[in-house]
């Protein structure tokens, strides 16, 4: 009995050590430090109203980064995510007509289908046509931009009133006051993020979900072990599209309009955020939930720069430097952790 108990103890301990040697761990430490700094700089950081504002500002990048993370875990990359985001807002506001609530339902359905098609096209390009994912999504981003500009040459458009539910329940006419007051402590974007998390939880429990990581880890051996890699890659892009779709719902709820160009700056931010969250660009490694940590760090950088009264001109300089420090830190941390493991100082 004695040796067995010992072994369980070592195993449990090793789980903790294993976590501590992963790059995500240092990202979590950076996040805690940054939240502390932000809370010190902004006195009311944890108060209800300002926290709701913060969550509203952070939510979209969290959703987009989770989508990008799914794609990156599969060993792919999506440079068209920002353009696709713009496209969905343009379609939503193109279909919807103010004062006709039923058009909102049509808009939702049509955009949902378009989102799936966007994912399938990217996936076919990378999976079946064997074009490098960076290049294929780079090309499709122009196609999405073109269609968006065709639908909405200038920012604008109409929206139905109940779409406010994706931003703030209190703006929705005819909603019970009790339900409306929920928005004062639970912003709808948080619900969207939860929906995203549940979706990923469900997907990652399926056979295809497990195949995502297998294909990302080593496409060749995944293929040789009988996985239809192209179909798995299409699944990854479609999953990403759905996350982008959720972000588009939030933006249309917030702005009540569509814009063909506002999404593009998000694309590279999502990749940087995912890398900061410990997801390897080479695929197969990292946790999609930890992408949230990366997105929070990238968002907090901007918030801290704002509240620390750093002159506007220094903003981009500091933001760029922090990204390098964050990913460099986690890389060094992981390297030394692995070396310590290899030397046997820490036992896994």
């Amino acid at each position: 009995m004695e040796p067995k108990r010992n072994r369980t103890k070592t195993l449990r301990w090793s789980g903790l050590v294993g976590l501590a040697t992963r790059p995500e761990y240092s990202s979590a430490i950076i996040l805690i430090v940054m939240v502390t700094v932000a809370a010190i700089l902004q006195k009311n950081f944890f108060r209800g109203p300002s926290l709701v504002l913060t969550i509203d500002a952070f939510g979209p990048l969290i959703l987009l980064t989770m989508g990008q993370a799914v794609v990156m875990v599969t060993g792919l990359l999506d440079l068209s995510a920002g353009a696709a985001l713009s496209l969905y807002t343009c379609i939503l506001t193109y279909v919807m007509k103010t004062g006709q609530p039923e058009t909102g339902v049509y808009a939702l359905l049509i955009t949902f289908v378009v989102a799936a098609v966007v994912g399938i096209i990217n996936g076919i390009g990378a999976g079946y046509l064997r074009i490098s994912p960076v290049v294929v999504t780079f090309a499709t981003s122009f196609i999405w931009l073109g269609i968006s500009l065709f639908l909405r040459p200038t920012p604008g458009g109409q929206s139905v009133n109940w779409f406010n539910a994706f931003y703030d329940f209190r703006n929705v006419d005819g909603m019970p006051p009790l339900l409306q007051s929920v928005s004062s402590f639970l912003p709808p974007v948080l619900i969207l993020v939860l929906v995203g998390c549940l979706f990923w939880y469900a997907l990652s429990r399926t056979r295809t979900g497990r195949h995502l990581r297998a294909v990302g880890g080593n496409e060749e051996s995944a293929y040789r072990s009988g996985i239809n890699t192209a179909r798995v890659q299409i699944t990854a892009y479609v999953a990403n599209s759905l996350f982008v779709f959720l972000a588009a719902l939030f933006f249309v709820g917030q702005n009540q309009s569509g814009d063909a160009r506002f999404g593009s700056p998000f694309t590279l931010q999502t990749i940087a955020a995912a890398v900061v969250g410990g997801i390897a660009l080479t695929g197969g490694r990292g946790s999609v939930y930890f992408a949230i940590v990366g997105a929070l760090i990238i968002n907090l950088v901007n918030k801290i720069i704002f509240f620390a009264n750093i002159p506007y001109a220094y903003g981009t300089l500091v933001a760029g430097a922090i990204v390098i420090i964050a990913i460099g830190g986690s890389q060094l941390y992981a390297t030394y952790g692995n070396r310590a493991l290899a030397r046997g100082r820490v036992q896994r």
Partner: protein
């Protein structure tokens, strides 16, 4: 077994596509195919092609390398050297030294971070371009951008000899040097070797990390010197003068047949790719379909081009 057609398949395809774009332009838009129009296209394409040289070197070194910082490297050089030159030829050497310094510093930082720390170059060079943009913002917040390029630079980048813009002759000589360095020197073989198979290159005694770092340094240096040319072409320096070239430079390199997997790349093809994309954009603008048609057409043609000859289908 390879015939001359097989070896130059991508070059021939790009060339046919260029001719096709010009012919379609001539048929649909009046006066598309005259010498002036062609020369303007080639001149604009020359700057893209020069930026694509940076991408090609970094991509050829493998490891999914890309350099997103080339635009702001060029902008920073242009802004600082404009002040240094102040429109005088005798200050040109100072500007060249400054450009060299900026290029090497930026490239070395990119290279060391992405090879020795093993960070993804896509994110490193993106963050680097943010840092450079930040430095430019800080500088321009405190001081006005003053100064002009030296007349030599203006002759080189903006003026024409007869119908031919001088930049074309520069591009041809650059292409000549690049082809010799990449295909006829030991270093070129090492670069492609590292890109093709890093492990094999390492086991044959090549310092793979150093080769990749040098690739980034070269990319930064070339980008920095393009900054001088952009300054010569525009006559003044401004804050975002280089950033519009970054994405086209990647597109041109890819259309020109450079593989993102590394170990491959023909600069002549890249130049043809740049001319093709620029001619296509001109055509789509001339057709007058507006922004929507322009980007939609560009995206679809890019996608089709990629399917046609970039995709390497698995032999099943």
């Amino acid at each position: 077994m390879y015939g001359i057609y097989d070896r130059n398949r991508k070059l021939i395809a790009a060339f046919i596509a260029i001719v096709f774009v010009f012919v379609v332009g001539q048929l649909t838009v009046s006066n598309f195919l005259n010498l002036n129009q062609v020369m303007i296209t080639v001149k604009l394409a020359s700057f893209i092609a020069l930026f694509s040289l940076c991408q090609m070197i970094v991509m050829a070194a493998g490891g999914a390398g890309l350099d997103l910082s080339v635009g702001y490297t060029a902008t920073m050089t242009a802004i600082f050297t404009a002040t240094v030159m102040n429109g005088k030829n005798e200050n040109l050497w100072l500007a060249v030294v400054l450009a060299l310094g900026i290029g090497i510093a930026v490239g070395l930082a990119n290279g060391l971070l992405s090879t020795y720390l093993k960070l993804p170059s896509l994110v490193v060079t993106l963050a680097m371009s943010q840092i450079l943009q930040g430095i430019i913002n800080v500088y321009t917040a405190g001081a006005l951008i003053t100064g002009k390029p030296s007349p030599v630079l203006q002759i080189l980048a903006a003026k024409s000899t007869g119908a031919f813009p001088n930049i074309i002759f520069l591009l041809i000589s650059v292409a000549f040097v690049v082809m010799i360095v990449l295909y006829r020197t030991k270093w070129g073989a090492m670069l492609f070797g590292v890109g093709e198979n890093e492990t094999a290159a390492y086991l044959s005694g090549i310092n793979t990390k150093r080769v990749r770092t040098i690739a980034f340094v070269l990319s930064g240096t070339v980008a920095s010197f393009i900054g001088l040319l952009l300054l010569g072409n525009m006559g003044v320096a401004f804050k975002d003068m280089g950033s519009d070239y970054v994405l086209p430079s990647i597109a041109a390199a890819v259309v020109g047949g450079v593989s993102l997997q590394g170990g491959d790349g023909n600069y002549i093809g890249v130049i043809l790719g740049a001319i093709l994309l620029q001619a296509l954009l001109n055509l789509l603008v001339a057709l007058g379909w507006g922004d929507a048609g322009k980007w939609l057409g560009f995206g679809i043609v890019l996608f089709v081009l990629l399917i046609a000859y970039v995709s390497d289908r698995r032999k099943r």
